[in-house]
Structure formats: C-alpha cells, structure tokens
C-alpha cells in the first residue's frame, strides 16, 4: 500500500475532510564567518500538513496543523551537532457554539497587541459575540530545539471590539517569566480603524509595567486616493532596551530612545508597472539618520517581471547605499529562470574587516515537474565585507499533496 494511501486512511480515520501538505528536501551550502570562511553543507527535510474537517453540530472547523524539519550535516557542522530537528507547529483547533468560541491546543503562534508574534506550547482561546470578544493564552514560550528552560512561562490576553471587518480596537496584557524571573510585563492598546473608505488609521502603544515607561508607540495613516495611488505616513517611538528580556543583565544599563517618522508612496501608472518610494527620518542615541528607498517592478508576461531597487540607510556610526536588479523569466510552462544582482557600499568598514563593498549575483532555475513535484537549483557568487569570495549552492525538491483531489 502506498504511503499516500496510508496517509489518506489515517486522515479518514481522524475524520479529516481535506488535507494538504508538502515535503521538501533542501540542500544549502553557504559560508559562515568562522576562521576566515567556513562552508557548511546541511541537508534539510521538512514537512507541513494542514488537515481540516467541517466537524459536527458542536465542534466546527476542526483543523490539525503541523510543520517540522530535520537536518543532517555533511562534513563538520557549525553548531557541533551533525543532526538536528524541531517542530515549528503542531496544534489542534476547533470552534464551538456556532463559531463563537475558538480553541487551539499545542505548539502555535499567538499574535495581536502586546503578544507581538510569540511561539508557545500551550492553549489559546478566542471568544467573540456581536463584535466584542476576548483572547486568552498561556503556556511555555518556545525555544529552538525543544530547549525550553525551567521556569519559563507566558500568559496574556486581549479584549477587543470589532465594529466592522475593517476596524478593530484592542487592549492587551502579557506576562512572561524566563528562568523564574520576570522577562515581560507589558500592557498595550491597539487600533485599526477605517473612518472613511480611502483612509485607514493603525496604532499601537505598549507600556512596560515594571519600568513605568513607554516601550513602543506607532501610528500609521494609509490613504488610497485612487486604486493606482497609495500614500502612507507613519511615526514610531521605541525604547529598544525594553525589548531585551527584563532579566538580562543588559536591560538595566541603557536608557535608549529611538524615533522614526516618514512615509511611502505607491503608484501604479500602468497595470504591469508598480513604483514605490519610502523615506524615514531616524533619531537614535548619539545622533540621527535616515532610511529610504525606491522600487520599480515591471511585469513582463505571465509570471515574469523585471525589478530595480535602490536603498539608503544612514545612522551615526555607519550607513550603506544599495542597488539591486532582479529578473524573472518563464522559459516555458515548466521552467523558470531568475537572476538577482545585489550590491551595497558601506560608509565605513566594519570592525576587523577592511572591505566596504558587497556584490552578490544569484541565479536560479526552477522546474515544475507536474502538479505535485517541483525542483530548484540555485547558485550564488560574490565578494562581501566578510568574504573576499563567497559561493553558495542550493537545491530544493518539493512534493505537494492534497487529499482528496490532488495538490492545490
């Protein structure tokens, strides 16, 4: 019996109505900064699975989501482990009471308000009725390779009011322990409101309860003057030291403040042409700087495009200017070629490294074998501040499956 049939049986037995997933083999030989250049050659195998069923009268939209990977390193491994692996997500989700209550259990990511984007091993519940709701979560924050330290825990929640699909206001709190000490104790307020159709206002403020200081405040206004023209203005104030875990010895030394203000404009004068430009003024400890950029993309036929990107970043200690050109060309329905030329120039050299210039060229060839199988070969060569010569080779083979009815 084929593995596909076995998987189908397992999913049928679990009551799943639909399952989609993939298995990917990936080889990536790339250099690391160690002993004047160290080339690691790992082979990864990853899988993802998304199974769902409608459920019954009490439990609806049942989902099982899983994703994980394993690694074998050829030659000397950088981290001294020849093999490694981890689970990115593995959770069960269902909705009850006519979809008013969502429950999720297992390794998952919680987002929203003060939670930011945090992976946890734990439970999540979301209850909503008539646009008003609450989210609660608790568990152990995820560390790579199952290395959760003793004494780690996280709990939090968010109350929200969702008057329309495009508007939501929320108040949230998060409490995290790391090795038994308080790592985070934050309260937050967030909002995304569309008062009139072309205007969307988004805001977020987060307060460190222990330090009685503003950790982060952000406000952005997005205006769509026409389908072809979008303008965004935004301001941001952060206290970067408060983003270090409160139990780190370094969290008590610095009192840093960073401000940022600027905006962006996106213009689509013709359907295949997209132009965007952004600029922000930065204030950091010890001075100020700016970051900005331009990007133009021209779609050339089906799935093909030609793009140019220019970027600039300056800050009191250093800065860089970057220019990039990329090209995607579909040779025939099965083969796709890409080229990416990327160069940047630092204002000052980095500690211990004399070269200020980086030039990297990358080319890939993709082959869509059929609906389920695809393969990619990539090669990259360049000269960078850390490496006089830098070469990288990657190979990816992916199998997508879907049941019933084949891959989507």
């Amino acid at each position: 019996m084929s593995s596909r049939r076995l998987l189908a049986l397992a999913l049928l037995a679990a009551g799943a109505a639909r399952a989609d997933g993939s298995a990917t083999t990936f080889f990536d030989s790339r250099p690391y900064v160690r002993d004047s250049g160290y080339q690691e050659e790992p082979i990864f195998e990853s899988f993802s699975l998304f199974a769902r069923a409608d459920g019954g009268a009490y439990l609806q939209d049942v989902r099982i989501v899983a994703r994980g990977w394993g690694r074998v390193t050829l030659g000397l491994p950088l981290d001294d482990h020849r093999t490694a692996g981890d689970v990115d997500s593995l959770f069960f989700e269902g909705r009850l009471f006519q979809r008013h209550l969502t429950l999720r259990l297992g390794r998952q990511m919680v987002t929203g308000g003060a939670a930011r984007a945090t992976q946890i091993d734990g439970a999540f519940a979301r209850i909503v009725a008539k646009g008003v709701g609450a989210e609660l979560y608790g568990g152990v924050p995820v560390d790579p390779r199952f290395a959760a330290a003793r004494g780690d825990a996280i709990a939090g929640g968010r109350l929200f009011w969702n008057p329309a699909f495009d508007s939501e206001l929320g108040a949230s709190a998060v409490y995290a322990l790391k090795r038994g000490y308080v790592a985070r104790k934050d309260a937050g307020f967030d909002a995304s409101v569309t008062p009139v159709r072309p205007l969307t206002l988004s805001g977020l403020a987060q307060w460190s309860v222990d330090d009685r200081r503003l950790e982060e405040a952000r406000l952005a206004a997005l205006v769509q003057l026409a389908p072809q023209l979008q303008i965004v203005g935004d301001v941001q104030r952060t206290a970067p030291d408060l983003f270090i875990d409160r139990n780190s010895i370094f969290a008590v030394f610095a009192e840093e403040l960073r401000d940022e203000a600027g905006g962006e404009i996106v213009l689509r004068p013709l359907r295949p042409l997209s132009l965007s430009a952004d600029w922000h003024w930065l204030r950091v400890e010890g001075g100020h700087g700016q970051r900005g950029g331009f990007r133009g993309t021209l779609r050339t036929g089906e799935d093909g495009s030609l793009g140019v990107e220019l970027r600039l970043l300056t800050q009191p200690d250093n800065g860089y200017k970057e220019a990039r050109l990329f090209w995607i060309r579909r040779l025939d329905p099965a083969f796709t070629l890409t080229v990416d030329l990327d160069g940047y120039w630092l204002e000052r050299e980095l500690s211990l490294f004399a070269q200020k210039r980086s030039l990297v060229a990358t080319g890939t060839l993709g082959w869509a074998v059929d609906e389920a199988w695809e393969a990619m070969l990539a090669g990259s060569y360049g000269t960078t501040p850390y490496f006089e010569q830098r070469a990288e080779v990657a190979v990816r083979v992916a199998w997508k499956f879907g049941m019933p009815g084949g891959a989507r």
């Binding site: 049986l9 900064v33 160690r34 990864f44 409608d54 019954g56 939209d61 989902r63 989501v65 990977w69 950088l78 981290d79 981890d86 689970v87 990115d88 997500s89 959770f91 990511m109 987002t111 929203g112 930011r116 984007a117 992976q119 979301r126 790579p144 699909f165 939501e168 995304s192 988004s202 330090d211 009685r212 769509q224 389908p227 979008q230 970067p240 030291d241 270090i244 780190s248 010895i249 370094f250 008590v252 610095a254 840093e256 960073r258 996106v266 965007s276 952004d278 970043l313 800050q315 990329f326 890409t338 630092l346 980095l350 500690s351 980086s358 990259s380 360049g382 501040p385 990657a394 990816r396």
Partner: protein, 336 residues
C-alpha cells in the same frame, strides 16, 4: 477483521443521487424540496429534503428495494452530509428580490454523479451588488465565514503594496483575525518561527521579487541595520541568539581564535571610543557577545564596590530603590 475495516475505509462514501434537471423537466418547483430555505436568514439549518419528501413521488422504488435508485453506496446508505455554512447569506431577502427565481444565482445545479458548485459564485453576487471595492481591499469576511476552507489565491489587486513588510506588524497587531482569514499560521511561521530550519530567504532564492529582510549578503550589513533599528531585530531575535551565533562563528569574546573587535581607547574614559559611552548608545551590541547573566564580564568591574563604578543611567535611581535591588533576582549579580 482488519481487512474488513480497511475495505470499509477505502469504500467510497454514499452519495445521494439527485438529478436536478429531470426534476426541473417534471416541473417540480424548488420550493417543493427546499421549502425551509425560502424563509432562512442564515445558512445554518436543514435545507435538504428528508426521505419522506422523496417518497411522496418515489414510494414504488422503495417498496421494490431499489436502494440504488437513490444511493450510490447501498451498503453504507446515509443521509445528506452535514455542511457547515461558509457564507453569510439571507435567502429570505434574496428570494423576495428575485421574485422566487432561484436560477438567478443557481443556474447550474448538481446532477446524478456530477457534483457542481452550489451557486454561481462571485458572478452571481456581482450581477446586483458592486463588490469591486471589497475585493480590492480584501474585505472578504463581509460575506465569507471561513476563507481557509476555499481554494483561494489572492489576486494582485489585494496584494500588500509598498513597504508592507515593515508595516505589517502594526496591521497584524490590531487586526490579526483579518490576516488569519487568508493566511494560516504556517505562513507566519515561515519568517517568525524561532524553531525554523533556516531563513526563508535561503529557502527561496527563486523569489527575488518578494520583500525579504535577510536577502543575499544581509550578514555583511547586519551591524548597521541593528544599530539603526535594534527593535526590529529584537522582535524576533533575543540577545542570546546573537551571542550564540557570534560564539559559533568565533567572533565573540572567549571563542576559539576570536580577535577583539573593540577599538583602541575602549577602556579609557573620555577617549572617544570608551566602552561606557558605546554601551549606553547601543547595549544590544554588547549583549550580542557578552550576555552570560551574572557571569558577564561587565559584572566583574561594575558590581557594587568594583572598579568600574555605577553603570546605571542618571534617571535610574529615581525609578528604582535600593530595597528593590535587594529583592529582585536580576539585580543580585551586582548588589549582593
């Protein structure tokens, strides 16, 4: 028994064979079988006829045990499958407006052994309602209850334009449920997983058009990026992850073959390169190599009575008392 169980699992589930076209030809009105839908304000409910309704016309076949007349798998004959509603839809209001003409939305119906979509999809809605703005702005949840159940692929009009990569945290923080209507968690984990096997940029060099943070030689300019926006790094990477990578790369203090990255004058106050000023400006850089808690080399000199003196910023004493230092575990490294 195992074989029987396998056979049972592998057998195609029962399907009720209903030829809509023949019933239409026989001038059986929709309301005869679907009476309850005409007054339904939502799609939660039972809108398919029970066996009794069929037997009003087909009792003869039942009496003659012609089970296959209606059931595709007689051995596992079942009722209509239960369907969870996927749309917010008020049939009562629409039936009134369409003057009971169901074909306005249901022009193609399923036939015997040939399943069809229940309705004509977006085209049917757009024949009366202007949803162009909703499609453009991805306001799908106005009508759809569970987008992840569809074979949907976003069209370019609702792609996230401009510098959305930098802006998306703000949007997701306040309206994460809207994001989740199209993106499942594995999509977020491509970039946000602390457990990920390698960076998404390394896995997808064939997508140069996508906005990635760590593309190509990001490693060469990461100190500049980190100094300009340390919070952007700290959102995903803890200070200890910086230290781990620097240790593995043999550039952190104490690792084999490491050379000191610090400039001359690093330990001389007022030299212009004094480490105290640098630390105040950019403590994350220090933490990226020296975050060993109580064993950090800063503790050695800056503990109470040490030669390094008080490292706290001027406003620190106003916000914290000495009694707090004696009760807070993280202070005890220096305040023993």
């Amino acid at each position: 028994m195992t074989f029987a169980l396998l056979l049972a699992l592998l057998a195609a589930p029962d399907e009720i064979l209903f030829p809509h076209a023949r019933h239409v030809q026989a001038q059986v009105d929709c309301i005869v079988c679907h009476e309850s839908i005409f007054s339904a304000k939502t799609l939660s409910g039972k809108f398919l006829p029970d066996e009794g309704k069929c037997l009003e016309c087909h009792r003869q076949e039942k009496r003659q045990n012609q089970c296959g007349f209606c059931h595709s798998n007689v051995e596992q004959a079942a009722h209509w499958p239960k369907r969870q509603p996927r749309l917010k839809f008020d049939h009562a209001a629409h039936v009134e407006r369409s003057k009971d003409d169901c074909t306005r939305c249901h022009s193609r119906l399923s036939e015997q052994r040939r399943a069809a979509a229940l309705s004509d999809g977006h085209g049917a809605c757009a024949s009366c309602h202007n949803h162009a703005d909703d499609l453009r702005d991805a306001r799908c949840n106005l009508c759809h209850l569970d987008l992840l159940a569809y074979r949907l692929k976003p069209v370019s009009e609702i792609s996230h334009e401009g510098d959305f990569l930098r802006r998306h945290a703000l949007v997701a923080g306040a309206a994460g449920a809207a994001c989740a209507s199209c993106h499942d968690q594995n999509f977020c984990l491509d970039c946000h997983a602390r457990t990920a096997m390698t960076t998404i940029e390394a896995q997808m060099p064939d997508r140069p058009d996508r906005a990635f943070i760590h593309r190509n030689d990001f490693i060469g300019r990461h100190p500049v990026e980190a100094r300009a926006d340390p919070v952007s790094c700290q959102r995903c990477h803890s200070a200890s992850s910086c230290e781990t990578c620097h240790q593995l790369s043999h550039v952190a203090g104490g690792s084999p073959g490491a050379r000191s990255p610090h400039p001359s004058g690093w330990s001389v106050p007022g030299s212009g390169a004094f480490h105290g000023d640098a630390a105040r400006r950019d403590i994350q850089s220090c933490a990226s190599c020296h975050d060993q808690g109580d064993a950090s080399n800063c503790v050695r000199c800056h503990k109470v009575g040490g030669i390094g003196g008080d490292p706290h910023p001027a406003s620190f004493r106003a916000r914290h008392s000495i009694s707090e230092a004696r009760s807070d575990g993280r202070c005890l490294g220096c305040h023993r």
